[in-house]
Symmetry: C2
Subunit: 130 residues, 2 copies
DNA sequence: CATGAAGTTGAAGTTTACTCTAAGGTGATA
DNA sequence: TATCACCTTAGAGTAAACTTCAACTTCATG
């Protein structure tokens, strides 16, 4: 059993964010102590692991909530969940290809400026000597 | 010379966004007709091209504005610009590696669910026959 | 030269994903 | 058993990046 602070330390998500995620339906059914304190299990941590993967690959909170909801509804939603992940995967692959393309252009520009800088510095040196 | 609508069509940015970018200092010095209408040149389009690359690789509006400002200040800012792009490039590479890692986990989960779905469907079929 | 589509501005509104605040209650420990 | 760090909630606040609105003005065309 982990306190919310423990989970925050383990995941890098703030305690605020953890409560917010719970409110939004991303992580439901977290146990409570008799006093009402959240007590996360290892299973909860694993669920948070998947959530982080989806989040970090650009899935919105709303879409993750949808996925989690389907999970709770049982095996008859397996097809929809597979479909959802498959589509997400496609979108991420496209996004990454696009990023790579744009990064290449940035790299090209960076090289261009690097050359220009060299020329500029050579010029400065010459001026100083004169 | 292109109207704002032309540029919107060419870049995929809305006319609203183009005006917003201008206000934020991302694209300055766009010519105007005597009546005050924006008239974009091919050079403006090229500048927008770089802006889109930076934007799409995750640079904030503020940081792009900073870069553009340095550009206007002349060659003595070349070093800072090179540094800025170099750092951005590093961040993007890290971000992409992270995304790839997380995507791998999503893919793993997807395969897991796909198998589970197959088993479930086989089960359903069996129940139907029974 | 009228008219309607497209442009202009400043300012307010929206969405997403947090993040913080206030006003408490809880629980380990000295 | 007091104390104090940590937890609870509802709700307000924030930041980024647009997006929409209102109230005009301009431009191309029949």
């Amino acid at each position: 059993m982990y306190s919310i602070q423990d989970v925050s330390n383990k995941t890098g998500l703030s305690t605020h964010t953890l409560r917010y995620y719970e409110k939004e339906g991303l992580i439901s059914g977290v146990e409570r102590s008799q006093g009402g304190f959240r007590q996360y299990t290892d299973e909860d941590l694993e669920r948070l692991g998947l959530i982080r993967c989806l989040k970090n690959t650009g899935m919105s909170i709303q879409e993750i909530a949808r996925f989690v909801q389907l999970t709770h509804e049982g095996d008859h939603t397996l097809e929809e969940r597979v479909e959802l992940l498959r589509e997400h995967r496609e979108r991420v692959l496209e996004r990454m290809a696009e990023m790579q393309e744009h990064l290449d252009k940035v790299t090209w520009k960076l090289n261009f400026f690097t050359e220009k800088l060299k020329a500029y510095q050579a010029e400065q040196k010459k001026d100083k000597q004169a």
